[in-house]
Symmetry: C2
Subunit: 251 residues, 2 copies
């Protein structure tokens, strides 16, 4: 083990290269190894002296462990993540691996480089639906029981948060989003606006706004961020997609 | 009114220039007018053809209206905001002004350019405390009644969200943060870690982690982001500030 290795977990943002921070670009330029899930590594330009480790392994702990071993051996390693690595992405998995791994890993130079997470990119494209208190809930039930997800949605609705739903749909849970909408409807504000923001900042971007009463789970796919407005979220009609925003005041 | 004007609300991130997106830098390079609160405008380099409108007026609607009038008159206007403009910053105020203003403003070229918001910068510096479901609550009671804030904290604790507190302290509400901690303590998990992250990514950055049982309001000032871990948030002891992260799994 040499002392010169380091490990950064970097957020590539939602897709547009203009949303990658200079901090992340600088880390990628200095890296000897870039590790990540295939579609994220595909965004990194190959160059001499750089090894790309694109993996279709969905076990994030394996990827984190691989990265830690390389950094401990003196490599300059960047784990790439879409959005922000700290929001439902690779950073938590990395620290799980650090905690469970050899004590020496705790002394490594490990940094998290933030990025534009999907909910903030989607919010910006639509207006400002997260302009007041809000929460972020991952609808995947791979890592938590579905009743806990429903409980959180119910409490978030009672708190009148706007809610960003990450991982709203997958083949394994085709009805999860419809069940989430049903929980929201039990808390009223049936006309609150719902934003379906697909592939934001990419050429495939589509934004769609409907009231909760008309929202259906099949309006989202795996590339969609769904944001439920609070009871106070407003739409401003205009040519094209309306602006959507949550006022600062709750008086 | 000419057709060539536009208005962007841009996030400058937490302080480090390396966290300003190229999209924001490009908008600033094309702007004829930059508008904002004095400390944010002070971050913009003066150049020929650019008018800086630094204001100590804290009435955000006035600033938004000024920007809209300039854009409607054909100017290329950037409103600068710290962090992300859509999170407790200028974007919501802008859309309030659009909704209440002349109908012609709705047809203006208005864009929100996202930035790295304070909670994500603070989270990245500490590890990954927002790696599982979380919420963001503004502790300012200028625009909402304090009982609503306490209700939201209680519901967020019941949901076991990690909680990012924006505007944790001000001269007008010296005891607000202590009251917030008291609400959290009523929900147990007294040993959950609390992150006090001051002036992150600037030379004045200080990180401090204590269990909830030892957290005091005077550990924060107006430049501090406070993040309360959930009951599952973990600390990894190491030389210097411990890593802080919330595991992905809630099983």
């Amino acid at each position: 083990m040499t002392g010169s290795g380091w490990l950064a977990v970097a957020g590539l943002g939602p897709g547009d290269e203009a949303l990658i921070t200079p901090e992340v670009s600088a880390a990628l330029a200095r890296a000897s190894d870039v590790i990540g899930y295939i579609p994220y590594v595909a965004r990194i330009a190959q160059r001499s002296g750089l090894t790309l480790h694109a993996s279709d392994n969905r076990v994030e702990i394996d990827r984190a462990t691989h990265a830690l071993r390389l950094a401990a051996a003196g490599r300059r390693v960047v784990i790439v993540s879409s959005g922000d690595p700290g929001v439902f992405a690779m950073a938590a998995a990395l620290f799980e691996a650090v905690e469970d791994g050899p004590k020496a890993w705790r002394a490594l130079d490990i940094r998290v480089l933030p990025g534009i997470t999907a909910m903030l990119a989607a919010s910006a494209r639509a207006g400002a639906p997260l302009g007041h208190d809000f929460c972020a809930i991952n609808l995947s039930d791979n890592l938590k029981p579905w009743p806990l997800i429903e409980k959180r949605i119910a409490l978030a609705a009672e708190a009148d948060f706007a809610i960003a739903f990450y991982n709203p749909r997958s083949r394994a849970r085709p009805d999860g989003l419809d069940r989430a909408f049903a929980v929201l409807r039990e808390h009223g504000a049936e006309e609150r606006p719902m934003l379906f923001a697909r592939a934001v900042t990419t050429p495939e971007e589509v934004l769609h706004v409907v009231p909760l009463s008309q929202a259906r789970g099949d309006m989202a796919d795996m590339r969609t961020m769904v944001i439920a407005g609070s009871s106070r979220t407003r739409t401003i009609d205009r040519p094209g997609t309306p602006f959507l925003y949550t006022p600062r005041s709750a008086r």
